[in-house]
Symmetry: C6
Subunit: 189 residues, 6 copies
């Protein structure tokens, strides 16, 4: 996370927002799908909550596979590997839920994801987007490295008041109540 | 758990009652069923007792599948995922037993669950509803966030005396001896 | 365990005797059998010794399946779930061996178990009934909640001398050397 | 272990010798074989060394199955359960190796084992019998409960000098260098 | 790691760079592929991060198998064993990512790897090469044992300024932004 | 390890050299192969490094199975059990690598191993023999119990200088750079 993101849309690569003791930063997820038997591989020193969060995202995607025009048997025919570089840094928490959901949908539908946008939010299996912590720090962190557009949970709307003016005026902020709201913004048109 | 529940019945979403060190609150379970091989996925940072409680509910539902007009092979053809948002909050105990049972029956029978009602109670594999702790705090917590109807174990009937008058007069309380008593009330007519 | 047992025989439900720091009590096991692949599911916060004890009971039942007119392939075609309410209370020890054996035979043969009788005793894979601890406390506890007939290991015969007279005169006590002795008494005629 | 052993030969039941902090005693293994898929089930609160010891005995029996006229596919068609009562007493160490080997051969060949004899000794996968500890205490313990014939490892021959004269004159002691030596003595003629 | 590397290219053997408390050294990975079912075996006392790093390399190779003319079913038909001698020395971290990737490609394509070159760098599933720590110590260590050509992450370019002049003038240094850059250099022409 | 080894070659039995706090000794591995599904069973209270070392030996043998005229499908049709008596003594480290390799090749090729020779050395999956610790103590220990021929890693050649003259003149020492060097010496001609 130390340079401005290239702008070209990519398959399976999503910029999340993370919150560490020294401030906000971005947290990339990379994903690939491969012919397989339905395995989900999760790497990058993830804690249990973050792993569960990936399974929640996976079940949400399974439950809406028909609407997304994903082969409904993907969970028997396709393996998915989600990796969070850097591999030695421990990562945990549910706030990468929408990021992971976006990565999964990208590799399963072959739709590219915008690389000039970052996102954060817990996902539920019914597709709700729940509030997460550290919104102020995350958005400041994203701004510092050149991100000018973010997707946040609607339930975090009030946290935006706490942003410094110079960040706020420079940043397009979208609020998502459900994953449907994220999907409209995150993918290449 | 910070706003009044929408009233429209939903598939697989049940409002349970929980009891934390700072008082009673609601604890939602969300569930989806998908074509699969009979796997049960449980997420939301659940402790061992709560996971066992889900397996007890599952066996109860299996044992009455015929009466419920559920395909008796569902445990070989259907995967079920039960998720308890918020994913970072640890949850444990047997008191979500009736809540989980209701969620399972909903996704397996495609019957919607009332969203204006909350419930608590341990379930056994024969369908008995057993007493649980924290009834007073749970009902006060439910009332605070706008719930006016609850299902409690019959064995907790005496705990209701301890409720403040203003809560009691505002609340329809049902008592359940077996899950049959819950089923009559929880689902959309 | 806080009311007198209903007297009507039931399938898969057995009253065991337990011994806690605050005295003897009853410990119910509930069991259901379902079409399956031979899995044994054990819930109710059981310790390792108690789980092993269930596997010992299961192997004993397998080894005498022919005599009991149980389909000898039940361990490939039937799943059994044994649950010990209350799910949050830890339970351990080998003394539920005869109780579990009785539950297994009930669900596999569809013979109902008397609900006016309680039992305790370790089981071995050859069907021996071994002595267990806390006999005095267990029988007093059973008596307190209205049980008037118990099955104890023959090796515990001498412990009965320690019972208060008023309990002893009120209680029919059977002694079992092997499971055959239990089987003659526990099931509905 | 508190009464003199019945003398009639039995299938799958072997009396081993054990050594505890309060002296020597006997340690029974009970085994049953059942139609299955080759599983080995070990119960009785066994430590890792004792479990490995059972696997060593099992591989030894597999490697000599032809000589013993055991169906060489037994490890695919037969399940074996070895149980060590009393289930709550922890047991460990390699010294039940010959005892377990004897139990396995009994249930797989349907040959009965003498119940008036006790044995101790580590087994290797090539059938060697290795020295074990506590010989003096074990033999005294066996004598105390009425056993008058024991099988010991040849490597422990010198330990027999330490036995009290009154035990020694009352006891037939066999020494085994390999399992072949045990087999000649342990089974019913 | 105590003698100058033989110069002849080898199959499946790659020299990595490691960084210990007593300075930089080389860390060899050896790999073999065998007919199998797609298993990956990792030995050499590897920590969790290093094991995950091998899975990341494996998924990267799977995702570019077509371009590399590797049978795309190798993950079902081929077992791969990656071993890091010396087996008693604990190893961890993500910095062997490019080394492992090179070993995998070698055994799957049967292309030999240059033995006069060493490398370090974290790999991601999309094939990016990320910066790692200890560059100065690693290159000095490689130089000490006769290595004169190394591949480093482009993101570590600035760390090269810190190398002693006598090491720098003796060393050909390649920088890699993606694994494509490594592949051009590491294999026998 | 307390008597001079019988001299007759044996199948699957190899004498290794071990090094404990009280000096060098021998460490036997016994192995048997049986019709099966390719399982490797390791017993004798082995630590993780020693278990990995057995897997390294196994992969080396798989990768050279053709040259050894071993059926290349042995890893699907044959089970191998490697046992290290005495079962209660913990054992660890990579130095039994060549010993295990020799045992595996013996049971898979049915070639007998010389029992008048002992060996030590770490093995890698490409068949290299790496240096190990305690050479002086190990050779003195072997000498004490009547072994007059040993195989050591070539990388340990210098350690032989430290041997007492009376041991050295009594001992034939072979040095191995690769497993090929061991194979020429260890098997019955
Ligand atoms: Ca970084
Ligand atoms: Ca706020
Ligand atoms: Ca909420
Ligand atoms: Ca919250
Ligand atoms: Ca009360
Ligand atoms: Ca209670
Ligand atoms: Ca007594
Ligand atoms: Ca006893
Ligand atoms: Ca070294
Ligand atoms: Ca630098
Ligand atoms: Ca010894
Ligand atoms: Ca030296």
């Amino acid at each position: 996370p130390d340079k401005i993101k290239e702008k070209k849309p990519k398959l399976g690569v999503v910029t999340g927002l993370a919150w560490t003791s020294v401030g906000g930063t971005t947290l990339e997820v990379q994903s690939v799908s491969m012919k397989g038997k339905g395995k989900i591989l999760l790497t990058g020193k993830l804690g249990d909550v973050m792993k569960e969060s990936a399974h929640v995202a996976y079940s949400y995607v399974r439950s809406v596979a028909g609407d997304l025009e994903i082969d409904e048997k993907f969970n028997e025919t396709t393996d998915v590997h989600l990796h969070f570089p850097e591999g030695a840094v421990p990562k945990d928490g549910p706030s990468a839920g929408v990021t992971i959901t976006t990565a999964l949908i990208s590799v399963l539908t072959k739709r590219k994801i915008r690389q000039d946008i970052a996102m954060t939010g817990e996902i539920t299996i019914t597709g709700e987007v729940l509030a997460v912590g550290g919104i102020k720090e995350k958005v400041i962190g994203a701004h510092r490295i050149g991100i000018h557009e973010v997707i946040l949970p609607l339930d975090n709307e009030s946290d935006v008041d706490e942003l410094p003016k110079e960040v706020k005026k420079d940043m397009t902020i979208h609020f998502a109540k459900t994953y449907e709201d994220v999907k409209k913004i995150a993918f290449e048109k």
